[in-house]
Symmetry: D2
Subunit: 258 residues, 4 copies
Amino acid sequence: MTDLSWNTAITEIKPNEVRLRGYRIDDLMGSISFAEAVYLAIKGELPSANVAKMMNAILVSSIDHGASPPSALAARTVASTGAPLNAAVAAGILSINRHHGGAIQGCIKVLKSGIDRVHQSGETVDKIAANLVSEHKASGKRIAGLGHRIHTNDPRTAKLFQLAQELGIAGEGLQMIVAIQSSLADAGKALPINVDGAIAAVLLDLDIPSELANAMFFIARVPGLILQAHEEQTRERPMRRIHPTEISYDGPAPRSLD
Amino acid sequence: MTDLSWNTAITEIKPNEVRLRGYRIDDLMGSISFAEAVYLAIKGELPSANVAKMMNAILVSSIDHGASPPSALAARTVASTGAPLNAAVAAGILSINRHHGGAIQGCIKVLKSGIDRVHQSGETVDKIAANLVSEHKASGKRIAGLGHRIHTNDPRTAKLFQLAQELGIAGEGLQMIVAIQSSLADAGKALPINVDGAIAAVLLDLDIPSELANAMFFIARVPGLILQAHEEQTRERPMRRIHPTEISYDGPAPRSLD
Amino acid sequence: MTDLSWNTAITEIKPNEVRLRGYRIDDLMGSISFAEAVYLAIKGELPSANVAKMMNAILVSSIDHGASPPSALAARTVASTGAPLNAAVAAGILSINRHHGGAIQGCIKVLKSGIDRVHQSGETVDKIAANLVSEHKASGKRIAGLGHRIHTNDPRTAKLFQLAQELGIAGEGLQMIVAIQSSLADAGKALPINVDGAIAAVLLDLDIPSELANAMFFIARVPGLILQAHEEQTRERPMRRIHPTEISYDGPAPRSLD
Amino acid sequence: MTDLSWNTAITEIKPNEVRLRGYRIDDLMGSISFAEAVYLAIKGELPSANVAKMMNAILVSSIDHGASPPSALAARTVASTGAPLNAAVAAGILSINRHHGGAIQGCIKVLKSGIDRVHQSGETVDKIAANLVSEHKASGKRIAGLGHRIHTNDPRTAKLFQLAQELGIAGEGLQMIVAIQSSLADAGKALPINVDGAIAAVLLDLDIPSELANAMFFIARVPGLILQAHEEQTRERPMRRIHPTEISYDGPAPRSLD
């Protein structure tokens, strides 16, 4: 070995053997869901049944949000030029930044700083949340994870929080974001917790490293980007002008699970 | 509506309501796994329990294959320059092409053409497989989905085939690729069916559109790309020279489920 | 040296010495224009003064074409999410494909096949052009490099052809595309030669490898993509809806050189 | 016009008329070099003859730096999987970040802050440079634009500075970086000004907006990325292991202009 040799702790590859974090991949196949494998890959350990259910719900929540988010429009624009599917998906992923999808990490930072202050000061969560709200107001900054340009009551947030409670995962992260929302409403600025904020709270309570929090959104959204790009290439003519809002839905009618 | 208006059949967005292929996303959350949501998004209908298990196994099989595939090295190279995580992942996805990951689609094409010939000619699968092998040999082309630079007996293939049999999914696709492998071995060229070939056969038997077949690999591999890039940024110094083979594993020791 | 060692014939790097195709880069700096360096890099030899002028004109012709091409819209969409400039430019470059910018390579292929037929058959250029036109018509295919969705008489084409004549560069490529356009007009389908077609003809007459022909367009357009993305980030609010046609120009008023 | 309408000040497109910053593109073609068009696009005005020469020299200086920079290796890694050229170039551009190419913007920031202090304090450039050096030392931070892993005396820097002097462009930017280098040497840490630092100083003296400074490097390097990717696809076998240092040069032998 030269000084160019290096180590990885993710996956071990030997002839006829592939191990993810120590487990044979062929043992994992058929035994755990993909969302559990994602958790294992990120955290190094298998999730409990409840955490597995939560991970699946988080990924399902963000699989697609229609054709109008910038990541979908970027993927479609690239797809419309005759690009291979991976180029369209890459453009979509490059669109996930501070103003789109990227709020998860920013929100975790705010929640963490609030929780740290609670621990250090002995003040209540509500008191610290009120302080965070007034500090952001004073500096003219928005708190990441609240507000949505379409939803006033994001259905994904309600369900993520309900599951987090039922599955015993809800903790300080969830408590803090709810307190921030209340405090904002008290200050006359009622805003919904959006799906980024909800995922931020739950990932914090799951102790997922914050620098990988946005990445959970990439994992979840890639199928959506693929389908948006694929629909563009199969339903529309190349190089069309893609209007960002004149979009109607003509897929399967509303239906319920069983 | 102007002539710029257009339609999508994937996801319906209304204020406080998000429906994927007709189902409320908040009903899907907690009820189905992410892999099932991927199937619903692609096919427009929910999978059976057996197909759900197969979809999870396919995605788990390809979540990562260590640090040496070109997609992992491209993601690490970009990550080592101080790039944001999405840029590194985009570079990884741009590396999934004909020679890496891209064999799935090519293999499906061969399998399909073989199956069509069986139907049209009334010949046996073994006869048609032998014809395909000799035709490829004559034209000097490799058959996509066979052979691997590391594995002589890919553990992922064996498990995918075992599950496909147990779950009642194995059909003409699987039969054809096995016949092709046999025929190749008879011709003195014993090659393992690699994970691309195995996924190709199973996706064909699941009737997944072949132009989305490679995309299944993007979905599966994104977590691996994220973790490779993240490990690069957290364990290594920026701008290091990344050797493509002098890689050792120092993660969790081998362990078993249960 | 191990079997991993490899060679490059483009640039030689030694401590305190950088040589492009054999020339010291610091000798080239101040002596040749960037377009000449591009030619040297591609062809391995310095261009004549006339070819240098042509190379500059080709690159200038394609530096930008406003905010409405898909590459500009993709770059702006990514930029609007708060992406770093290189991510926006990457998305723009990923938009240069068969239906946008990519016609250069397709057009060269047609022109080359026509020229080859002239040489082999001894027929006139006009006769072969007529054959190509009727063959494309019969198979329902468009000939790449003709037609534009905005310009009926592309000013860039006229100037490229004028320069190619004046500089003694015009050859069989240019002759063939003009013959094809005439033949199309005779067949009742008058179409302008677009800038892709004009560049294709000139690059063919410059003997630039056809697989690098589209790449000339990447080189030319990168400044445009940068400025489109930068203008998006400096003039517009994040995450705005980007309309693909409701675009007005409010820059410097029309003016002339000297 | 609806509220979705918007403006651009870069390029005006009308049928049969394309104007960059007010000038007809067909007037610019044949009259100015590509580097001048880049300056016009960025600054909105045509450069003087001296500035035109400087712009060309800056772009030539960075057209390629061999096969070992991360951007070249990323482009080659993607190219080796069978990717189209634009995907390989996109991966290369995504590799231009803080630790590679991205030093230009960081260096401009340091130089600007130094110049501002000179203006405000009335202190000498040498005094302020010494302060900057000791402040960076105290905080353990490197000053962007100094030091190189291969060159102890970067030939591109010397030439850029010589040209900037000869062409009457050298100003406070250049003065400040030279003073910083001296001050570092006096402090026992002799480091060369690298090409990023040299370009930073000259772009500052040319009053190019600092957020577009790194972008000058994208423009310059795209031809290099294209050729690295193209050489990979034409000289090497797909999916080879790309060693990051065992690279030899076998192109044209050293030669001189004239």
